[in-house]
Every structure is written in C-alpha cells, then in structure tokens.
C-alpha cells in the first residue's frame, strides 16, 4: 500500500488519479483471533491500530455492523479540547491532545487537525469565576488556559454580540489555544488504514448478535457472518453499549442512551476562525474548511436509540446561535442529523477490563468522545494487552460507581445528561 507523499500525489495526478488503491482490505473473517474488537467507530479502530503498533498484537479483527464511520465518528461536530477541571480528566484529555498533535504524521494520513482554539463565553460574574477556576486548574495540570476580556474577544471573534443590552451580556471568555477541530471521517479512515497495513482485519457489514461463552468466560462472538472465536473480546460500540452488553447478559450499566443533534449551514466566507461556545445556554460552533458553520447544543433530553431528534431542541439551538451572532439570523440551514450517545452517570468515560472474564469495555463517551479518540484507543489497547488499566485510565474503570469514586466534573450527582 502506497505511502501518501508529495511524490505519490504527483504520480497519481499524472495518471488521472485512476491508480489509487483502496486504503484497507475487505477480508473474510477468520475462525479465530487473539483479539476481537466489536465496533468500527473511531475508538474501535484506534484501539486496533495501537494494539498492533504499541503491543505487536496483530491477529486482530474489528467487527462493524454497518460501514466504517457510520456511527458517531462520522456524526460529530469535530471539536478537540482538554479544558477540564478535575485532575483525572485533565490528564486524560491532555494526553489525547498530545497524540492529536502528531496524529497526521503517525498515521501518514492528513486528519486536518487544526489548533484554532476554543473560546467559552461567560455571561455572568459567577460564570466567569467558574471558568477562571477551570482555566487555573488546566494551567496547574500543565495545560493552556487564557482569560480574555470583552475587548480581546471583540478582536478575536468580531461577530459576537458584546453589547451590554444583550439578553446574556458577555463578561469575558476562557480560551484554550491548543484546542481545535479535526476532519472526523479522516480520523476513522486513517486509523483503519494504519491498522489494516499492520495486519488487522477490518470486517464491515458484520453485526455481533451474541457472545460465545464458556461458563462466565467470553470466548468469542456470534455474528451475522458466523461464529468467531477470540482470546479477548473488546466492546467499543458507543451509543449501542446497552444493546450489545445485553447480548452478554449484562442488563444494567451506569449508562443511558440519548440523542444529540448537529447542524450545518450553507457555506459562508471566512467568518470565525476558532471554536466558540455560548455559556448563556449551551451551544458550540465552528466553521468548516468548506465554509459551513457546524454547530450543536444540548441533548434532546430523553432516552433514545433513534438517530434523529425533535424540533424543540432545533428551535433552542437556533435561538442561541442568533443570540451569540445576531448577524447570522438569515443564514440558511442545510442539514441536521442525530447520533446516539452513551451517556455515563458521572459524565466521565469508562475504559475497563470486564465486566466478564475475557471481556473489555470502552464506553460512556457522552458527547465528547471524538476528542478522546487517540487516547481512548491507546489506553484501551494497553488495558487489553496487559489485562490491567494504565495509570491514566485507572480512575476510569467500571467499578468506580460502586466504590463511590465517581469523576463528576460538574458536581451534579448521578445524572446521564452531563458531558
């Protein structure tokens, strides 16, 4: 398989781009693997890549029920950041940002990681205190947080309504300069290609319909393409966690599935060169390289496995957008869609051994799992290879809920609506 380089680009341009080879094979499943990964989203593919690259475990299959990238990896608003408060979260997401910074190079695949920064607008003195505290925690943990005054915001993001008559006047904002966006499909494709060329079988249109068991031990999976045995079975199915784990007899988890919507406008000339979030409600937006504004808000708010949302949230998101950028009131919306989120009960992910012997679980990404993709894959691969979590994901095990060791960024107690 060809390396992507200036030379290969020129060569293929010369021959009319007819000779590019597919980026990954389409193998039939083998009867047995060392590791099976259920779910070909960002996290499953990254896990396969790092299993092969970091641990030399290449007899691996990734089983995906649809096509590669059909889940949330292809549905998100592509924001990458590590502006968290608690030390466990800061350490994890900073580790992820560091992997992002070298990812295109590591994969020899341009994931278009653009460190354009993220600006969280604050709209009251109390919110400002809260954000400044978070910024200080980030700096304390070795990260980057900068407080901007309204005058500085006016320079950085000219369209924001900074008038004191606004319904939620802006009092300042927390900027994380190293945050940004990446091309979500490219992340899936880059990890897939990287895993494939190291020997991993990526098997699309292969739905896991049950688990093979020897007593408590998980020894493989039943699929729409037959039974496949494995020494280790790792589940990374994001919003489908409840359904898939039920097939293994696990019918209760600290997870609820909820729908989150995203929106894209018609293309505009360059308008905003950073990610901006509205703190008077909940809205985050950025401008894609094609010129469209990409944005989203809150969950619809009730349990859902439907990959589509309802209108009240559409209305709310649009009104917040116009409150933040009044000049966008007449911009037309092109598309909207929904994705099913694996909302954990403390808002923090789960990367764990178990809950059954021979099984490993990666879930609870809420609506912030895209930015975690490289770190999640790296740490899940470690956990699978060594049968024990790495020190960075040791606080993220499933038993934390029953040990009273939850990681609750917002201090809101058990609720599946955090992020």
């Amino acid at each position: 398989m060809a390396e992507y380089s200036l030379l290969s680009l020129l060569k293929n341009a010369w021959s009319g781009n007819r000779d590019w080879k597919p980026a990954w094979r389409k193998p039939d499943p083998k009867p047995e693997y060392d590791v099976i990964i259920v779910g070909g989203g960002g996290h499953g593919l990254a896990t396969a890549f790092y299993l092969a690259k970091e641990h030399g475990i290449t007899n691996v299959a990734v089983l995906e029920k649809g096509w590669l990238g059909s889940g949330n990896i292809g549905r998100n608003t592509t924001i990458v950041r590590s502006n968290y408060l608690l030390p466990e979260s800061i350490r994890f997401y900073d580790f992820s940002v560091k992997l992002w910074e070298n990812l295109s190079h590591e994969l020899n695949y341009n994931v278009m990681f653009s460190q354009r920064g993220i600006l969280n607008l604050a709209h009251s003195p109390a919110q400002a205190d809260d954000y400044i505290r978070r910024g200080n925690a980030m700096r304390h943990g070795g990260g980057d947080g900068v407080w901007l005054t309204p005058a500085e915001i006016a320079k950085k993001v000219p369209g924001v309504d900074l008038s004191q008559n606004a319904r939620f006047p802006v009092v300042g904002g927390l900027l994380q300069p190293r945050a940004g966006t990446a091309r979500h499909d490219a992340v899936a494709w880059g990890f897939a290609r990287g895993a494939d060329r190291r020997g991993v079988d990526i098997i699309e249109n292969c739905e896991v319909t049950g688990f093979l068991r020897d007593g408590d031990n998980v020894t493989g999976v039943k699929t729409s393409r037959g039974e496949i045995r494995a020494k280790k079975v790792a589940v990374a199915v994001a919003g489908s966690t409840g359904r898939v784990m039920r097939l293994a007899g696990i019918d209760r988890l600290p997870i609820e599935s909820h729908v989150l919507q995203a929106f894209v406008t018609e293309s505009l000339k360059p308008f905003v060169d950073t990610v901006v979030t509205f703190g008077g409600g909940h809205l985050y937006m950025s401008q894609s390289d094609k010129g469209s504004l990409v944005f989203g808000g809150d969950l619809d708010g009730y349990n859902s496995y439907a990959q589509r949302g309802n209108l009240p949230v559409v209305e709310e998101v649009m009104s917040e957008m116009v409150a933040m950028f009044p000049s966008l009131a007449r911009v037309r919306l092109l598309r909207s869609w929904g994705g099913v989120m694996d909302m954990s009960m403390d808002g923090t992910p789960i990367i764990t051994t178990g809950p059954l012997p021979g099984m490993y679980l990666n879930t609870g990404w809420c609506y912030g799992g895209f930015k975690a993709t490289p770190a999640s894959g790296w740490l899940f691969a470690w956990t699978i290879a060594k049968n024990t979590p790495h020190e960075i994901n040791a606080p993220f095990t499933l038993d934390r809920f029953h040990r009273g060791a939850i990681i609750d960024e917002k201090g809101q107690g058990a609720t599946p609506k955090l992020h």
Binding site: G242, R252, L253, I255, E256, S257, N303, N310, L311, F401
Partner: protein, 103 residues
C-alpha cells in the same frame, strides 16, 4: 413528538419536562447495603424499545406522568398519572394516536 396528557389532551413535546427512568425501585430506606444503593443510584436498564419513564406536564397542568414510550420509534403506548402506578392505555388512546414519532 406529542404526549397525550390525561387532563389536557395531546400536547407538544415542548410543554413537557423529562424526569427519567421509571424502572427503578427505591431500596428499603432502612437498608444499609452499599451495593444495593449504588446500583439504585447509578445503574440503568437502558432498553432499546419499550421504556417506562416519568414526564411532567410542566408547561400545562403540571401533573407528573408515567409514560410508556419506545426509545427506538418514540411511539407512546400509554400515559397515566404517577400516583395511579399503572398507566392506562385506554386513557391515552381515547383522543386518538399519540404516536407523534420524532421529527
């Protein structure tokens, strides 16, 4: 999505506040078993399909409702008052379909 409130009839989703999973039973308050309480507080069945859940008609009569809804299609098969314990399908269907699948 619409929910048919037993008092007010079919009303738009925007009038209702979601109050969460109604499948859980609060443990005996005298129980001191930490595992039992942790499971009650954190663990959910999270079914793909029929889900018993609480809603409040916050923008209407303010009744607390027990609703059975499919998490796959948003189809609502019954709505009753929380204090009735068992939701009555007849009541919600009287005013016609409360299907109102998600837009």
């Amino acid at each position: 999505m619409q929910i048919t409130c037993p008092y007010c009839g079919p009303r738009d989703l925007a009038e209702f506040a979601y109050q969460g999973d109604a499948n859980r039973t609060r443990p005996d308050p005298a129980s001191t078993d930490q595992q039992v309480w942790n499971a009650y507080v954190y663990d959910r069945t999270n079914p793909a399909g029929e889900h018993r859940e609480y809603w409040q008609h916050a923008g209407g009569c303010r009744s607390h409702l027990l609703v059975v809804r499919s998490t796959l299609t948003h189809e609502i098969t019954s709505v009753g008052f929380v204090h009735d314990k068992t939701p009555s399908p007849a009541r919600s269907r009287r005013r016609g379909s409360s299907k109102g699948a998600g837009a």
